[in-house]
Symmetry: C2
Subunit: 351 residues, 2 copies
Amino acid sequence: MATTSPKTTPASTVAKLGERALIAHIRSLLAMPDWVYLGPGDDAAILEQEPRTLEALTTDAFVEHVHFDRKFCPLDAVGHKALAINLSDLAAMGAKPRAALLSLVLPGELTIGDLDNLLNGLLSLANRSKITIVGGNISRSPAVPRASEQGPLIIDVAVTGNVGRRRVLTRSGARPGDEIYVTGSIGGSVVGLHSLQATLNNSKQSRFETCHTRYLWPEPRVRIGLLLGRNRIASACIDISDGLGNAVKQISEASKVGMVLDAQCLPIEQIVHDWHAEQGTDAIAETLSQGDDYELLFTMPPKYRNRLLAINGLIDNIAITKIGVVTKKCEVSIQTSKGNLDLPHGFEHFR
Amino acid sequence: MATTSPKTTPASTVAKLGERALIAHIRSLLAMPDWVYLGPGDDAAILEQEPRTLEALTTDAFVEHVHFDRKFCPLDAVGHKALAINLSDLAAMGAKPRAALLSLVLPGELTIGDLDNLLNGLLSLANRSKITIVGGNISRSPAVPRASEQGPLIIDVAVTGNVGRRRVLTRSGARPGDEIYVTGSIGGSVVGLHSLQATLNNSKQSRFETCHTRYLWPEPRVRIGLLLGRNRIASACIDISDGLGNAVKQISEASKVGMVLDAQCLPIEQIVHDWHAEQGTDAIAETLSQGDDYELLFTMPPKYRNRLLAINGLIDNIAITKIGVVTKKCEVSIQTSKGNLDLPHGFEHFR
């Protein structure tokens, strides 16, 4: 009969296992492609470079009690989303994901089973996205003095990717006359969050499951970003995780153009409209100001419509919707049946 | 008269300034070299690659209440050390620092003056080390529910560097007969920590100021790492931040060799011996088991002694001390006047 160390059972904690055993445990889950000259286990990872490309580099932290709540976020979703938010940034640059560093700040009471769930969610997306975890760091999260609270669980990911010099998607290339597009559908994530919070006290509420999935398991639009870059049809691109309204403003400012959105065209699902109707809130205003949708907003000269159709044919089940036009006058607004609305500013930490 | 926004005065807080203004504030402090194709401000940074080199990539988090205590660590030292611990890892690979990502998790109550102190310490070392902050992230640190405690301040840095294929310093190349060297002096950092903690309740204790500096302002051995790699004299190299004992064990395991240290040769300063004598602790045993010395341990065939002397001549005021030899028998030990000691295991989180 095989023996299992009591330390590595799912119910044991990371504090009992200890840092070195934890690192060995995580390393055993990783496979290294041949461009990794030296993987985890030395002072730094050493990588062959991808020839004839530029390197894209970004980082995003995913912080308990700020970005997620373990009461309604399963840990495999937490691991998935911690990587997804970083991949979405690479997608918005047209970059192909390559390597990731995983910095974990773990409360000592976290169980090995919980850690494995987190890693399963993260590594499953990493494998699908062909990004390799080449290194990382584990630190203890500080228990709170004079309180019985655990320290927060934090997953801080840094990613690198590659993109050809002429394929970089920036925020600054939008020109008057370009059309404005957004991928997928929007507004579902925030409804998912509110519904999950409400579900805590009411187990019957399952009508909004598609929104729960949008909130917990966002799918970064890496392939669409790559196709937009390779086909050179997007004049500007950004991920809308801080809100569609904010994304529009960012492109407007960086490109020194105006943008007019058509509220009727926004890809907001019926279930999102239903939620807001029940809450007495305005679906369009809320969707514009709230974030957490990991979709791409991009601008494109109208002459590339056929190429965009071809790209759309390569992507299963992800809509690409025209939602407005780029204008010369440096103003951003949204046309609704009740007249023009100003754009709200979007999510911001400390607000 | 120039007007200052009350939000940007040193006494204001990061919560009052808000995420976007904070990012703009930090960006205003950064200068970009010409290989930065696109710096902070888009979804990811875009960099030209350094031709004909491998890329080194590593990350290390610096966590309040775990790695530092604001009661006796000034914030410029915190910023310095958060970068230094990462640069030390690049140094141990023989890599030249290039780009850094700065992920900050900030309690809302942190003042702008405190943040600026932290950034000053970090950017001063970055400038001296010729590493560019190309991007990053700011997140709120969660206030503790049902307690009046702030969330921890966390500085998570990821760094990249470059190293020629034949100049990579790994842990696995030590061979029997090689000599073992360590840079600088050891044991001072932990004495500095204990002395600073004691000083909190006793303002007179300043005999150990050199140790305070070792703890608060460690100087990563980037130049020595580069010189060891370029001259190809080191057969293995590691940074000893998790303890000298641990570092020796890591090289021994990776290289499949034994290592014998001579306790008499360890570069432990008199003030460190004095501290341990006063405390009734064993300076050698403590220095071997405690970490937080950002020095390099490396092995070298004896035939390169002259080259090492030449390197030593290029470096001001940093000793390079022979402390032992590599042996065939896969055991690590330390010879003392009282006989052979086993090596302790070194610092580990959750222990």
